[in-house]
């Protein structure tokens, strides 16, 4: 696990939000941000973490950091 602590410009807590709504919310938030800005996304384990990072990558954004916390994941996503 990397020690770098990347500062996020915005944060989205998607715990309890189902697929694919969690991805849609992430996408809409990223669309409102500028290229290069960082969005923090908090995702549940299971389906959300299986699907959302894949979809974020397919949209061309960069996942800078992933931190596993108790039952959920904290992602830092950089807008392309």
């Amino acid at each position: 696990m990397s020690d770098i602590n990347i500062k996020a410009n915005a944060s989205l807590d998607l715990r309890g939000v189902m697929c694919p709504i969690n991805f849609v919310k992430t996408k809409l938030k990223l669309e409102m941000m500028d290229a290069g800005e960082v969005l923090e996304v908090i995702l549940d384990g299971g389906e959300p973490i299986q699907n959302v990072p894949k979809s974020i990558k397919e949209e061309g954004h960069k996942i800078l950091e992933v931190k596993r916390e108790d039952g959920y994941f904290r992602l830092k996503v950089q807008k392309s």
Binding site: M1, P53, K54, E58, R68
Partner: protein, 325 residues
């Protein structure tokens, strides 16, 4: 033998087409994709739509033709992805075929021959897709469609292990796979891959978070590759799992896996040689799965060795399911 092929015994009739007498042989009709209906004089005209894909332009024209010739104004999506125009009077066969030909739409076939291939969307637009299933379906349609065989011969292409095209139920099926390879320097130990793997083939090291991979559990879907944020999981090679001898119908049989990671360029040869073996070994009316059961899987695999060796053949001494060798 479990699956008898019964010939259509309807006889030859003379019909009057535009003032001149023409013979229509009902026995030939099935080979041309005309299927007799319950209703007197009415037939289903099955179109040839490899992979179930049509341009919207063509679909509009087909709809116009269907609207003109179907006595009930209905079409049906066949179980093998082709469009069928229902309730067509046989006296209008020539006319409908001519109109379909004008828009570049061919009629399918039934009976003992290579059928129209089916396929999922594939890698062109489906995020799970690993192989160009639509391109493969077009290739089979161009190269092998209608080739005579002892009994029907169905092929299909699935782009990933979800296997929507049901390759396990085909006479010869191809399912896309990708072999993942992990590059340690690029890995940050984020543990997403172990979460993304639905097969429990990746565990995360409790200290470093780095993956511990169990190849025996991997089904080669590529979820780890797509989920990895740092491209530490990469694709080593893409290919097809090849399955032979499956069928559905009254007595379903599950196909046997005979090759893993067969490359794209070997697919035409695999089909060509399999048809050759089937025509040399299969009895009339016998599906290839039953022919393999009777003759022995080993014989088939020996014949195919030059093709399948490029796809690192699985250990076929003890096939887990289906037909025994």
């Amino acid at each position: 033998m479990s699956d008898h092929f019964i010939e259509d015994k309807t006889t030859r009739v003379t019909v009057n087409l535009e003032g001149k007498a023409e013979k229509v042989d009902f026995n030939d009709l099935k080979s041309g994709g005309f299927i007799k209906q319950r209703q007197k004089d009415l037939f289903t005209v099955r179109l040839r739509c490899p992979g179930g894909r049509l341009t919207t332009d063509k679909l509009i024209k087909i709809a116009e033709i269907a609207n003109k010739y179907s006595k009930k104004g209905v079409v049906h999506f066949s179980f093998r992805q082709s469009l069928e125009i229902l309730y067509v009077d046989y006296k209008e066969f020539n006319a409908i075929v001519a109109e379909l030909e004008k828009i570049g739409q061919k009629v399918a076939s039934c009976g003992p021959r290579v059928r129209v291939p089916t396929a999922c969307g594939g890698c062109e637009y489906n995020p799970n897709g690993l192989t160009d299933t639509q391109g493969m379906a077009r290739m089979v349609d161009e190269k092998f469609f209608g080739t005579p065989t002892p009994h029907k011969f169905k092929t299909s292409f699935s782009g990933c292990p979800i296997d929507c095209a049901r390759t396990k139920e085909m006479d010869l099926g191809f399912q896309g796979v990708v072999e993942p390879v992990w590059d340690e320097p690029d890995c940050t130990g984020c543990t997403i891959c172990s979460e993304a793997c639905k097969e429990d083939a990746i565990q995360s090291d409790p200290d470093s978070g780095k993956p511990i991979f169990d190849p025996m559990k991997c089904i080669y879907c590529g979820d780890c590759i797509r989920a990895c944020p740092t491209e530490a999981w990469k694709a080593k090679r893409y290919g097809h799992i090849v399955r032979i001898g499956g069928k559905h119908g009254r007595h379903p049989m599950e196909a046997i896996e005979v090759s893993k990671f067969l490359p794209d360029e070997k697919v035409p040869e695999a089909i060509h040689k399999t048809i050759e073996w089937y025509n040399a070994n299969g009895k009339r009316g016998e599906r290839i799965g039953n022919a393999i059961k009777r003759v022995g899987l080993k014989k088939y695999l020996e014949f195919m060795d030059s093709v399948f060796e490029s796809g690192s053949p699985v250990d076929y001494a003890a096939p887990k399911q289906g037909v025994k060798g």
